[in-house]
């Protein structure tokens, strides 16, 4: 313990805030890639900048005002909503049912589980191509299969008919996301204590009653998670539509969603001339969508969580 080798005492600042050094490097990335561009985007959304050149002027909230009466925005949002509702129903019925079946630990359970979750890890681009092939009128499998089982009248030009194109988007999204609902519900089911079911059985409940009265209420955290996840996923959908029906949301905007609309407005679709690109307007739509989605998410979580407590 000689005086010469005594270490320097650390400063009070480093004692109190020292751990924040660990945050700094990540924060710089976050700042540069997320926060600053977001602030920049907000600034841009109040101009009429096209995205190219220096020709711009400040227009205040005019872009936002315009969105309120911009028909394509509502049309796209409506399509998102249709996809959301349809996927939601699919997840909470078929997905839940498959999870229940898997929870009974059938033979080859591991196999089913692995297979049914597989599409989740596939890119939506790959998924889109798989189903483009399947649904192709010339070389696809779907039409001949429908004919084979006597439903030939359903066969058709799936992706170019307005009535079916959106259904196809839903169908493909369902295919890609089914694994989520199965795994989330399955882990929820596995967390239901065995004693609870046995107690209900002692009380004279039959299998169906046990499921609906005892097990199902225990699944509400899974229900909440899945609903919010589906909401975010379906309102951000872009890749599937882009690959299956193109940036225009063909046919005749029948599958146009917010993702493609904003993309097209801000960056131009293939058949748009650059004169029609309105970058600032597109950014305004994206920001408005972010705020509305955040609000709805927050509301959804609040409503569903309060239900969980009651349950």
């Amino acid at each position: 313990m000689t005086q010469a080798t005594l270490p320097k005492p650390p400063s009070q600042f480093s004692l109190r805030y020292g751990h924040l050094w660990f945050v700094l490097p990540g924060f710089l990335f976050f700042l540069a890639v997320m926060l600053l561009p977001l602030a920049f985007a907000f600034g841009v959304s109040m101009t009429n900048w096209s995205g190219l050149g220096n020709d711009l002027s400040f227009v205040g909230l005019a872009n936002y005002a315009e969105i309120l009466t911009y028909y394509p925005f509502y049309r796209a949002a409506f399509h998102n909503a249709v996809i959301f509702i349809a996927i939601l129903i699919f997840q909470h019925t078929i997905g839940l049912y498959l999870a229940v079946l898997l929870n009974e630990k059938p033979r080859f359970m591991q196999f089913y589980r692995t297979v049914l979750f597989l599409p989740v890890i596939m890119s939506l681009v790959a998924t889109g191509f798989v189903w483009t092939l399947m649904l192709s009128p010339n070389i696809g499998l779907v039409n001949p299969m429908l004919e084979a089982i006597g439903l030939g009248f359903l066969a058709g030009q799936w992706l170019s008919q307005p009535g079916t194109a959106l259904a196809v988007i839903v169908f493909v999204t369902a295919w890609n996301s089914m694994g989520w609902s199965i795994i989330i519900y399955l882990s929820g089911l596995q967390n239901v204590p065995e004693e609870l079911k046995q107690a209900a059985a002692m009380d004279g409940a039959n299998t169906r009653q046990i499921f609906w009265r005892v097990v199902f209420p225990q699944l509400s955290p899974a229900f909440t998670a899945l609903t919010v996840l589906t909401f975010i996923g379906t309102f951000r959908t872009f890749d599937v539509v882009y690959v299956l029906t193109g940036p225009l949301g063909a046919p005749n905007f029948g599958t146009d969603v917010l993702g493609t609309l904003i993309y097209r407005t801000a960056f131009g679709g293939s058949s748009f001339s650059s004169a029609e690109i309105r970058f600032a307007f597109g950014v305004a739509m994206a920001l408005l969508m972010m705020v509305v989605m955040a609000a709805i998410c927050w509301g959804l979580i609040r409503i569903l969580r309060s239900r969980e407590i009651e349950g």
């Binding site: 660990f22 490097p25 997320m34 089913y112 599409p119 790959a126 295919w175 998670a225 951000r236």
Partner: protein, 287 residues
Amino acid sequence: MSSAPQLQRSQSDFGVFVGKTARTAVLVVASLWVLGPLFFMVIASFKSVPEFFINPFGLPKEWKIENYSRAWTDAQLSLTLPNTIIVTTVAVLVSTFLATMIAYGLSRKEKKFAMGLYTLFVAGLLVPVHAIILPLFIVLKAVGLFGTLLALIVPYIAMGLPLGVLVLTPIAAALPRDLVHAARMDGATEWQIFIRIVLPLMKPGLISVAILNGVWMWNEFFIPLILAFKPEVQTMPVGIVSFIGSYSTEWGLVFSSVVVSTLPVVIAYLLMTRQFQSGLTAGAVKG
């Protein structure tokens, strides 16, 4: 009357059998629904263009392996596959490491300041890529990263942070405080504590986050669509889509590219099914 219970019983035995068969059937149908299209695509990837029209549904009469070699050259997979691997690997490693550092730094959440930072990071999950991508484009161009792989890596690193922080902060907060104290007593510096104690203890969480981020980075379409113009810096999803613009009838080529782009993730998934399922679910349930 007396035979009624017995009748009921045999009926229910039969019912159990039917029920069981029906359930198995449902699972088999669901599995076919998933595997069928994939199988069909793999078959298609070995077909020549004429054969698609002569024999669209059967096995190929002649297995055209060269679809794959052509995909490698014509569809530029020779460029985009290595790009995807580099971008995903670097971004996953850096992002997960930085997220762990942040999570550890923030895990002393009794400080209001840290709580605010945590909320800020997690709120990053809601930021729409559409809104920030052009400003990002301008920034990347200004600093000279545009046209390099870093133009994807840097945004991916940052965009992987919110999920990483979300998943890892509770894990870091749950680490026994005494372990950190003990290491401090044992003479370790804060950095040594992080590398030698905290990081190894958070390994399960790190794997979850790495998978979570790795999957989306590998599959990401929109960001490279805007930020990577030429095949030299593109990743596979965009590479394939832009290639199709010019070769839309070369189905065999298209599907062999799709197979190549999907295969690595599928193999990783089959090797680590558990980690993938629990890792991805962990992120989803918290998000």
